[in-house]
C-alpha cells in the first residue's frame, strides 16, 4: 500500500541534525576509544606513552612494544617475539633507534629483559599492586609503540593459563607404515606458522630439526616438545625437489581453534597465547604488535605487562607480582655481576667451614 511505503522510505534516510544523533551513528571521536572519551585520561597520557618504545627488526619493521623498567635503559618485552636480538633495535616514539643487549630471558613468563646503553635517561613505569583489581576496573595502555593511548576494563577472572605446547598448524597423512618416505601434509591451517613459512598441501616433510621423520607421530613428538616462538628447521620435498624452510612455532591451543581462519581477530594474534603462571584479562583493543606495553590504572601506575593477544575479545597481561621481584634481581645482577675472584673466595671459605659436629644431647 502506498501509504505504508511512504513512511518506510522516509525512515531509511536518517539525517543527523544535532551534534550527536540519538539514533547514531556515534561519531568515532565519541566512541569508547575516541579522542573525546580519551581526553578523560589526558593527565597520565604523556607519561604512559614515554614509558613505551618499539622493538624493530633490521629493516625497521615493528616487532613488539617494550616497557622501560628503570631510568638507565632496562626494558621488558615479550621474549617469543624476539628471535634475532643482535640485529633488532629499540626505537623511541620520536623515531631514533638504538641497539640493545639481552640481559635475561625468562621462557616461563615469556619475558625478555634488555638494556639500551646509549640513552641518558629512560622513563620507567611506577609499579603498584594488581591484587586490588576487580572486573570492570578501567585500565589504560599505549598502542603503536608509544603513539596512542587506549582504555578498557578488566574483563574476566585472573587465572593461570595452562600450556598445550607448540604446533605447526598442519594436518598430516596418518599412514603408519613408516617406509622412510617422509610425512605428507594434508592440510595447512589459516594464519598458522606453517602457512607463514610457505608450507603447502602435498609437501612431504623429510626432516624436522635435523631428525628424519617417517610417521606423523614423530613430527608431533618433535613439535610438541618445543615452545611457541621457537624456530624449527623443516626439510621437505615438493614436486621431487628438495626444499627447506624455518618455521616459527605458535601455541597449539590457538592454531587449532583457528583452523579455518574463523577467529576474526582484527590484526592477528600472538605467537604464544598460553602457558602463563597467572594473567589479567582485559578488553582494551590492541594488536599482537602492542604486546610488551605496560598495563596501567587510570592514575598511571603500572599493574602489569601486556603479554598476549589471544582473540578478538581477549588480551592477557602478566600481573606485576609474577615478575617484578625477579626483574629487579636480574637488573641488580647485571649492574654488579659477581666477580670471579669473589666466587673463588666463597668456595674456599665453604671448604673450611665444616667442623666435626658435636652432639648436643
Amino acid at each position: 500500500m502506498q501509504i505504508r511505503t511512504l513512511l518506510l522510505l522516509a525512515a531509511t534516510a536518517g539525517i543527523a541534525l544535532g551534534d550527536i544523533d540519538p539514533r547514531g551513528p556515534l561519531p568515532e571521536t565519541h566512541r569508547t576509544n575516541g579522542s573525546a572519551t580519551l581526553s578523560a585520561v589526558d593527565a597520565v597520557k604523556a607519561n604512559v606513552l614515554r614509558s613505551t618504545a618499539t622493538l624493530v627488526d633490521e629493516k625497521g619493521g615493528h616487532l613488539i612494544a617494550t616497557t622501560w623498567v628503570s631510568d638507565d635503559g632496562y626494558f621488558l618485552a615479550p621474549a617469543s617475539a624476539i628471535v634475532k636480538p643482535e640485529k633488532d633495535k629499540l626505537r623511541l616514539p620520536e623515531g631514533r633507534s638504538f641497539p640493545f643487549k639481552v640481559v635475561h630471558r625468562a621462557p616461563d613468563l615469556d619475558l625478555l629483559l634488555g638494556k639500551v646503553s646509549d640513552l641518558p635517561k629512560t622513563q620507567a613505569v611506577n609499579w603498584t599492586t594488581s591484587r586490588s583489581l576487580n572486573m570492570g576496573q578501567w585500565l589504560c595502555t599505549s598502542k603503536g609503540g608509544g603513539q596512542e593511548l587506549r582504555i578498557g576494563v578488566i574483563s574476566a577472572l585472573r587465572r593461570q593459563i595452562p600450556g598445550m605446547g607448540a604446533a605447526l598448524g598442519i594436518r598430516m597423512d596418518e599412514d603408519q607404515s613408516g617406509k622412510g618416505k617422509g610425512v605428507k601434509i594434508m592440510g595447512v591451517a589459516a594464519d598458522s606458522p606453517a602457512e607463514s613459512a610457505g608450507l603447502k598441501i602435498n609437501d612431504v616433510i623429510v626432516s624436522l630439526a635435523g631428525k628424519t621423520v617417517a610417521r606423523f607421530q614423530e613430527v608431533h613428538d618433535i613439535v610438541s616438545r618445543r615452545q611457541p616462538g621457537e624456530e624449527i628447521e623443516v626439510h621437505y620435498r615438493r614436486k621431487d625437489k628438495d626444499e627447506s624452510c624455518t618455521v616459527r612455532l605458535a601455541s597449539r591451543t590457538k592454531v587449532l581453534s583457528n583452523w579455518d581462519g574463523e577467529d576474526f581477530a582484527n590484526g592477528g594474534i600472538s605467537i604464544r597465547t598460553d602457558n602463563f603462571p597467572e594473567i589479567l584479562q582485559h578488553d582494551i583493543p590492541l594488536g599482537p604488535e602492542d604486546m610488551g606495553s605496560p598495563l596501567l590504572d587510570l592514575n598511571g601506575r603500572a599493574v602489569g605487562i601486556n603479554i598476549s593477544r589471544v582473540d578478538r575479545v581477549t588480551t592477557f597481561a602478566l600481573p606485576m607480582e609474577t615478575f617484578w621481584t625477579k626483574v629487579q634481581q636480574w637488573i641488580a645482577e647485571d649492574r654488579k655481576p659477581p666477580q670471579p675472584v669473589v666466587v673463588e673466595e666463597v668456595k674456599k671459605a665453604v671448604r673450611v667451614v665444616p667442623q666435626p659436629v658435636k652432639s648436643v644431647k
Binding site: D19, P22, L26, N33, V153, T314
Partner: protein, 319 residues
Amino acid sequence: MALPFCGGALALEGPGGMANGKATLAELLKVQKTVQDMLPGVKPAVVNIQLRGGTASGVIVSSDGLIMTAAHVSEEPGKDLRIYLADGKMVRAVSLGLDKTTDAALAKMKDQSHPWPYVPILRDTAQVVAGQWCVALGHPGGLDPKRGLVLRVGKVVKQTANSLQSDCVLMGGDSGGPLLNLRGEVIGIHSQIWQARDQNMHVSMAPFLRSWDELKGSQVIKVWGTGSGGYLGAATELDAQGKVAVLEVITGSPAEKGGLKVGDFIEAVNGTQMLDQDKFAEAIRSRAAGDLITLKVQRSNATRTLEVKLGARPKEDES
C-alpha cells in the same frame, strides 16, 4: 537550523553525559563504580547455552525462567538446551519461538519449582541513545569455568528499528548474551559481528516486545514484511513550511483510534520536537507495538495532545 536533540539527547541514562563532547575522569570512574555495583546482581542471570554442535549465551529475564537468546542459536522451537548457570550447575531448558528476520528468540527453563534469578528488560526502547554507556556479558569461545563470564564496557554506536550497534567487542559464543544499560536492564541480545571492532550488532528489545506472545507461544516469525517497529498507520509529508503534515490516516489504525486527523501537523513525540519526516518515522519505528506515545499536534492553529497506543504492523504482507 535548530538542533532538536541537543541537551536532551545527551542526558544519558545512568551516569555519563558529555554535553561539551569531552569525557572526564570522574565520568569514567562513575561508570566503573556503576558497573562494578551492578555485576553481582546481573551475573547469576547470564547463562551459557549448549546444544548439539554449538555453544552460545543467553539471559534469564523473568522469575519463571524465560531466557532471551538469538534465533540463530536455538534455530527452532522445542529444542532441548543445556544451560550452564554462573555457579557451574547444569539445568535444562527448551527453546520457544523465534523471529528469524531479527534474530530474536526465547527459551524457557524446564524446572519451575523455584524462582530464577533474572534481569529486567528495558521496555521503552526509544530510551536507548547513541553514545550511552553499555555493558556486554557472555561466554565468548564457550564455557570456561576458570575464566567465567566475560565483561565488556563500551558505548551504543547506533540504533535502528530492530537492532543496536555497540563498540563492546563480541565474538563467537557471545551470541544470545545480553547488552545492558547502566541500570542493569537488558537493551540488546548479541547477534552478529562485522570485521571492525566497533561493528558488534545486538537485537534490540523492539522485536521481542512486538512479538512477545508469538515468541512465548513457540511461533516462528519468518517474514515481517518490513522489519519495522511500532506502527501508527498514518502517512505524512514535509510541507513547504517545514512542518510534518498528516496526509492520510488508515481506517482502524492506532492513529485513527488515538484521534489523529488528516491535516494535523505533528509537532512532537513524547516531548521531542519533530522537525522532519525521518525523525518522526524513526520515533515511531524505534518504539514497540503496545507502547503509549504522546503526540503534540497542531490542528486549526490550536495545539492538541493525543495519546496513541502503537500497534503491530498489519501482517497481511506475510507470506
